[in-house]
Symmetry: C4
Subunit: 252 residues, 4 copies
Amino acid sequence: IPELIEEALEKAGLMKQLRPYIGGTGQIRNETIRQILAEFWGTLIFQMFGGSAPNKDTSAPAANGFALVAAIYAFCNISGGHLNPAVTFALMCTGHMKWWKGLMYMCAQILGAIFGALIYAALIPQLHIGGGNSSPGCFGPAQGTNWSEVFGWETMMTFSLVMTVYASAVSKPGHGNTAPLAIGLSLYAAAISGGPYTGASLNPARTIGPAVVFVCNVGVSFIYIIAEFFGAACAAGLSIFLYGRNPDLKHQ
Amino acid sequence: IPELIEEALEKAGLMKQLRPYIGGTGQIRNETIRQILAEFWGTLIFQMFGGSAPNKDTSAPAANGFALVAAIYAFCNISGGHLNPAVTFALMCTGHMKWWKGLMYMCAQILGAIFGALIYAALIPQLHIGGGNSSPGCFGPAQGTNWSEVFGWETMMTFSLVMTVYASAVSKPGHGNTAPLAIGLSLYAAAISGGPYTGASLNPARTIGPAVVFVCNVGVSFIYIIAEFFGAACAAGLSIFLYGRNPDLKHQ
Amino acid sequence: IPELIEEALEKAGLMKQLRPYIGGTGQIRNETIRQILAEFWGTLIFQMFGGSAPNKDTSAPAANGFALVAAIYAFCNISGGHLNPAVTFALMCTGHMKWWKGLMYMCAQILGAIFGALIYAALIPQLHIGGGNSSPGCFGPAQGTNWSEVFGWETMMTFSLVMTVYASAVSKPGHGNTAPLAIGLSLYAAAISGGPYTGASLNPARTIGPAVVFVCNVGVSFIYIIAEFFGAACAAGLSIFLYGRNPDLKHQ
Amino acid sequence: IPELIEEALEKAGLMKQLRPYIGGTGQIRNETIRQILAEFWGTLIFQMFGGSAPNKDTSAPAANGFALVAAIYAFCNISGGHLNPAVTFALMCTGHMKWWKGLMYMCAQILGAIFGALIYAALIPQLHIGGGNSSPGCFGPAQGTNWSEVFGWETMMTFSLVMTVYASAVSKPGHGNTAPLAIGLSLYAAAISGGPYTGASLNPARTIGPAVVFVCNVGVSFIYIIAEFFGAACAAGLSIFLYGRNPDLKHQ
Ligand SMILES: [Ca+2]
Ligand SMILES: [Ca+2]
Ligand SMILES: [Ca+2]
Ligand SMILES: [Ca+2]
């Protein structure tokens, strides 16, 4: 079958044009482009299933935790599976990501989250773009929760998520093939406990995506985003004390 | 004990007849037959426990996700544990399955799903063959969900499932012994989020099995099936860009 | 601290008596005794937490599935972590267990289940020995479920559990450190789907333990037990076709 | 980015003062300090998300089980990830921890639990320090459960948790990267079954932390604590019979 497709492309004259960018097996030659694609699609999938989950008991925590597990497994071979600008930011702080690549990752993640939210805006009946604060996937303080409590929860939850990332997937030897599971279960637990107060975003892309698509809680989104980056920076700091920053920094 | 059984078979004259097909330890000599058997039984188990689960909160997503985890673990050593014609189709597109073997896998999967549905038709009180649209395991659009939404959900859910399959179990080095877990948790998350709209099939065999046994939603099954194969083809396309198609294609 | 304990034991003259049975580090010298102990304690823990779980939505399936995961992880290094006479029986059929050792395992498992049920009989307020059919951990057909349906469910559920055991933990290379997880999730899924009809025992020790302690459903327990051994035997048969019986049979 | 931070620190004259304690990559030179920090932060995270989870169906068991999984994964590279004085006590009994280091671990764990409870005291609306017996994370017997039942449940639950720790993470070869998962799922199962009677603490730090912060059930906390240490000691005893105590005891 793949040979039939290739022949068809050949005839259409496309193969010739693609050849400089695409290797003999069809793989994109440029590693950075593969990584950007992986971050985009991974965050899109995570946003789509995590953001549209029904908000009841363990349903949303399980959907978010396991969608993150699956999306990291699905793309970590290519890009490391950050799927979260706060994770990427922490890795930039500790010298594990070059700053220009980190910014590209973040753009891909935010775009992925926007498209993920757009897709379920289209696929959920009665839901549409600009649906407002009650749209699925939108983050805002629960009734009775004030801004400093939101800030504290998002900081602590992102801190614990990013510490799990460092221990499992960044430090050596880490936890190998179980790393994505560890990271997703960290989100699962945080979402059960902090979810009733903030919705449990832990991820600037997940905050921005639905805010853009549904125009929801825009005035409060910046609190989430600052808290998430702050929690990630704290985790970066602790991880420097525990593991040290990237020793190969100069060569990167 | 196994020696007693062997002796009994010997006396019955069966061992002689079986000898050409069965090795010294009782294993079937032909690898393809073992693989077909594995796909049949794996899909049967997946259909039986996934299809009969009560449709409440996380019950059905957990039963489907974990039944898939267990069934892949139980049979992936033998056949790769596709248990899903959409997965097999994607692997045919990327050159990881020969087309004739892929078709045999698909037949085994569909037969397994039909028998799985037959078994719980027998084992659930008050349920019987031809039970109609409300029978357990039947897929149809939820009230208020239209056909294009069903198509979109099934495409996206199957896409994410098959991407997880490629990253975990097809690409090298993949995720080793955690691959079945990654794939099952991908289904778990998708079933929580997309389940309320389409029932979350993601699998043509799972769509066809109950449709045949309970004669349910037959008019709409083709939408599910097309969407599932389409989502799988999209995942095959992205995985070619990220990993390349099977480089050993010629020798297979 | 361990040296203080040793000294105390020494003074009490116990060390001298224990020396022939206990090695320099305190480990019991005889491997079979260690294995019997492991099967006893493992099944006790599994019965205690699995049997006493509240019967609501995913609570009982999760408690049973994860208690089994934990108990297998806790004792599989020592005894293989069968914790189920049906598993032991299957392994006897395929030549992976000597028959006399298998019988010892089964006794340890049944005793463990009885003690596990005794413990929660003591620890749950208002519950006592001989509490009858509604006692926690007792298995009986749900209202409207007949004996042949119970037989079918228990057969199929045990079959899928034991197939997972063979693929994960018996066949080579198996699934290494994820095997206990695979087996426990197989029980989790089965318990969601078949639990509403039979309670989902899948394990003669789990059937016998509470039946003895609470004198419950005694007339119907034999159906469960026969079905469980039958399902295990079917799995043994299929696993011979797929993997072959133990090739080292003669030397065992 | 890390270089910018270093330069800033350099200018502030801090680097010079820190240099004796902190290595070239920013890592703290002293291993014991790293371990104490890891136990403190790990228990803080575990207390924070485990203790604040809503007490409904599988919500609290999942939050506690998965928060423990994540916290062990996040810190086991550094300190072993005990996060529980009962675990540390057991390891002291079997010669795997020096007594002075064990006491330091315990202090770090208890402090971590106190800070964890303080944090959610601040972050949960309407909740405050000294909130009394109904505060989240407080352990006390359920209505109708007497002290000996509490003692029995906590003993058995801690016993099963610590046995899983020994098999997965202490004995050789153990269960490698899946050990944290095994331990967390052991807590998950125990919390479903014993949670309705005692709240399922299994951990003296988790008992003390909220008792100190919310002044709750202080009169009954000692029962929990004694039972937890007793259960851990029993597990240490059984693990000596099964695996032996640490053979490198003399050199430690
Ligand atoms: Ca719409
Ligand atoms: Ca029927
Ligand atoms: Ca009692
Ligand atoms: Ca407060």
